[in-house]
Structures are given as C-alpha cells and as structure tokens.
C-alpha cells in the first residue's frame, strides 16, 4: 500500500527539483522549514522525530535540501517529511507538509475490530511495521 498522508502523496514521488520548488515557495511565504522522520506511520502519530529544530533562520533552499539529504542518509528506510511552519498570528501552525521519502516496502495497516455492546465495534488501526522494535521495522534493515 501507499501511505497517503501529506500534501502530495497522490502524485508520483516528488523529484529533488520539485522538492526544491516547494521549499522555495515556503521560504517566500516566510515559513520555517523542518525535517521530520519516523518508522511509525500511524495517522495519529503526531510527533515524528525532528531532524533538528525547525530552521527558523534559514532562508536558503539549498540549506534545507542538504538537511533532507543528510536525514535520508541516516534513515534510508524511514518516512521523511518536510513541514513548513507559519508563526503568523492566528495560524501558528504547519501550512504545508509533504513526504519526501518512503520505505521501500510499505506493509500498511491491520484494522482490528472488537465487538462491543449492541452492534458497536471498537476499531484499532495497527501498523504492521510497528510489530518490530524501532530501528528494525522495514525489511529488518537498520533505519
């Protein structure tokens, strides 16, 4: 399966050139770029690992792409996303967030159903990858 979180997951994986243009767009808006990675793709996993802090003072796209490259080298089998953070009053939130790397194989999720009173069902989403401990979740490779 393909996890379709993020702004552009229904498009073919973005090329480095396309990624750079999105970073430039974000910088032109005054947003701070941040790189995050995870090996737990659960949709409620809000806090991915930060690859350093959001780059509030960096205004050069090349600096961001360099961080993406470094993160990819260290975590070749993780999900990596770029977040663009807007500190403007009444936003103060992420304005753009897109995936720039995926594991080679995305095993997806199991939906666990627990039958409850009446016809109610309790649903739990379980990422197959998280059956293994951190660091060995995708293809057993060190991530």
């Amino acid at each position: 399966m393909r996890v379709t979180q993020g702004t552009f997951s229904f498009l073919p994986d973005l090329t480095d050139e396309q990624i750079r243009k999105q970073i430039e767009y974000s910088l032109s808006k005054g947003w701070a770029l941040g790189v995050e990675y995870t090996d737990d793709p659960h949709p409620r996993n809000t806090y991915w690992e930060m690859w350093g802090q959001p780059m509030f003072d960096l205004r050069d796209a090349a600096g961001v792409t360099q961080e993406v490259r470094a993160c990819r080298e260290h975590h070749p089998e993780c999900y990596i996303r770029i977040n663009a953070f807007d500190s403007e009053r009444n936003f103060e939130t992420v304005r753009l967030s897109f995936i720039v790397q995926r594991p080679t194989i995305e095993p997806g999720f199991r939906l666990e159903r627990t039958e409850a009173a009446g016809r109610n069902v309790r649903y739990t989403l379980h990422a197959y990858a998280t059956d293994r401990p951190h660091g060995r979740r995708y293809g057993g490779r060190e991530t």
Binding site: Q5, K21, H42, L111, A127
Partner: protein
Amino acid sequence: MNDTAKVVPGPGRSRYTPGVIPYAKMGYWAPDYVPKDTDVLAVFRITPQEGVDPVEAAAAVAGESSTATWTVVWTDRLTACDAYRGKCYRIERVPGSAEQYFAYVAYDVELFEPGSIANLTASIIGNVFGFKPVKALRLEDMRLPVAYVKTFQGPATGIVVERERLDKFGRPLLGATVKPKLGLSGKNYGRVVFEALKGGLDFVKDDENINSQSFMHWRDRYLYTMEAVNSAAAHTGEVKGHYLNVTAGTMEDMYERANFARELGSCIVMIDLVIGYTAIQSMAKWARANDMILHLHRAGHSTYTRQKTHGVSFRVIGKWMRLAGVDHIHAGTVVGKLEGDPAVVAGIYDSLRETRNPENLQHGLFFQQDWAGLRKVMPVASGGIHAGQMHQLLHYLGEDVVLQFGGGTIGHPMGIQAGATANRVALEAMVLARNEGRDIWNEGPQILTAAARHCQPLRAALDTWKDVTFEYTSTDTVDFVATATAS
C-alpha cells in the same frame, strides 16, 4: 412650589404628546450621530412604498428594530430612551437604482443579550421585516463590535485545530455528499462512503435531508458509516471522516445522535441551518465539549438570502454562524450549479476566514470587522463542481476550504474510487503547480492534462465533464464596482 412651576413648551414636550408622529421625529433619524466603536451596526436595503419618504422609512426601520412602536408612549420617559433607540445615521441611494436606499443603523451594544444569536436576530430581523411602509427590506451587512463578539464561543474547533487534528495541511480538503440522497439502506450507504474515502477523499457527507427515515434509521447509518471510515483509514494511513447528520425533531434527539457519533469515534457531526439559531449554538457548545468538528449545511437559506430586494444577505448569516460556533459552513462555489457571484462569495469567505476584515464594498463588506481572536470557519464549496474546474476553484476559493464533489465523484464512469482519486490527483497537481509559481488560471487545463498522464481516472473525469459549466446570471450581486465603466 406649584404656583411657581411653569409649563415650558419645547421639543421634549411635543415629542411625548400622545398621538402619532413620524419615526424620523421620534429620534430614530440621527444624521449627526457618530457611531461608537461599541455599537452594533447594520445596513439595510430599503425599498419604501410609493410616496413614503426614504428618510422616514429608514427611521422606521431603525425604530421597529429597536424601541419604537407605531405611536408615542409616555413610558419611554421612564428609560434613558435616547440610548436605547436604534439610530439611522446615514442613508444613500443604491447605485443604479431609483427606488432602493441603503440605510445605516447604529444600535447600542446594551440592547443585546450577550452570546445569543436569538436575541440579536429577534431585534434586527424581527417585526421590522413585515413593516408596511417598506415594500421590501434586506439586511445587507452587520458590524459586530469586539465587546459583543467576545460574548460568543465562536467555532468549536476552527480551521487551524481542525487541520491539526486531521493532519492535513497545504491544500483544500476534499469531500463528497452521498448520492442518491434518499433511499439507500445503511449498508449500501456505507459502501459509497468507503469507496469515496479509500479513493482519496478526506470526508464524505450526509445530505441535509438524511436524518432517520424508514429506508435507513440513523443508528444503522452511523454504524455502517463508521465501519467505512475506519476501513478506509486502514487502507490509506490517513485520518478520514464522515459528517454524520444529527439533525432531528428535538434537541434531546440531536444530543442522543451526537453522543452516539462520539461513542463510535467519529471526528465530525453535522447539523442543518433549519434547526434554528439556538439549537446551532447548543450543538456548537456540545461540539467544543466533545472535541468534535461541527459541520453546518445551509439548508433553507436561499428562501431569504438570494433575492436582492428582500431578506438577509448570506454574508450576515455567515457572520452569525461564526459567532454561533460552527466549524464548516457551505458558502458558495462561484463555478458550480448554485447561486454565487465571485465578488459576493469572496466577501463571505473573507468574513469566515480572516481575523479582521477591512471595509470592502466591491466584495459587499460594508464595514470593517474585527473578529477579536474568534476562530476561523472553514467554508465548504459544494454543488455541481468537478475535477476539470480545479484551477478555478483554487483561484477563487483558496486553500482553507472543503471542496465537495458529489456527482463529480460518485458519477465517475470508472466508479466511485476512481472519481475520488481523480479529484485528489487534480487537486494535488494544481496546488503543486501553484506553489511552483505557475499561472494556474491560464495554464490550469494543461496542468490537469499533464497530471492525467499518470492518472487514468483523472483523464476519464476530464473527458466526461469537460464541457459542463453553469453560466447563469447571479441574482445576488454587489452594488459597487471598482471603476466606473465608460458608457
């Protein structure tokens, strides 16, 4: 003492002599009045009956929407009546019209109960709309002072928190309304929800008149729908939702339905405008207390918002709903099948999404409005839109909006999932191109064609609906244009 008392004839005395005097002379016409920052302001479009002086008609509107009755009453003098009177402080002819006038009325904030749309509207659109000396009357816009805004909860969730909960940023959200709107069983209904969500939509929606009928009772719909929502989430790794309509005959029934939706883990519930202002405020309060997004379908509004001469402009309804506390509100598509002039829609969207609106007559905003930190409402564009219009939709409506493609998803020739995928790919391709600095207004069709090269469902959608447009003249338009045209 008595022998020294004198009766002094003067304005005070004649004003309260029993009988009927013009409203304009009763203090409701106050051309010298300078509105206070704390006043509630309203602008009405007035069409006086033939032979009725527009100033008198305007004063009558100010009077009937505040303290006046048809005749002089001495009991006014037991009150600080000057302060309680609505004051028409300005009147002007509507551009291009011989018989219509804009009347601006200021109301002291103390005339209104804090936090009650019912109280506000009972005055502003109460008796006055049936008043005989005006042939027609329309409430065009309102300015709600900060002091009054702060007495309302505002949107239960708001755009920012909604996006954070859904983990969806940087693009409009995508939805669809299940069709056919009546007749599907719970199980069949859930099928449509599952297909559309798995295919790529973020939300699916109950229609306004899906409540609890013989073909599908509400509990059945909720149970099957939540199976569809959770299953689609497992297939995609995304947060998905379905607006469960909790509209019912009584408040007790609505709470029962909303509580069941919460128990099932739904992230959003829905109400119809026809439930009334107080019920809407109650549901907003419930939604805030239960971490629920509250979607409002504006069923019924066109009966009073569409015609320019009489009723209430939708921009006012939108403002009231932001105060009342809904998170989503249907607010026009511009390009779809339903009424929506681009300038009018832009003004409405601004008043829902911005924190401060400058006066903008070209967009129908008569007043500056400060929202004082009240959260932002997500507008919803629904009705006769399809993937081929994606560049126009993004251009007109921007990013913080839910685009709802009902027929444009479910009517797709390759099926519902394909329809949803076509819309999602079209949307993401257009946002990507816009961010890259492309001129989407002019290059939109080429951008879509290029995206369709890697997406057969989008190709099929573009082929099926390429010539579908709804080009009719809008009835609700703005009266002010940016520049006078030479003629």
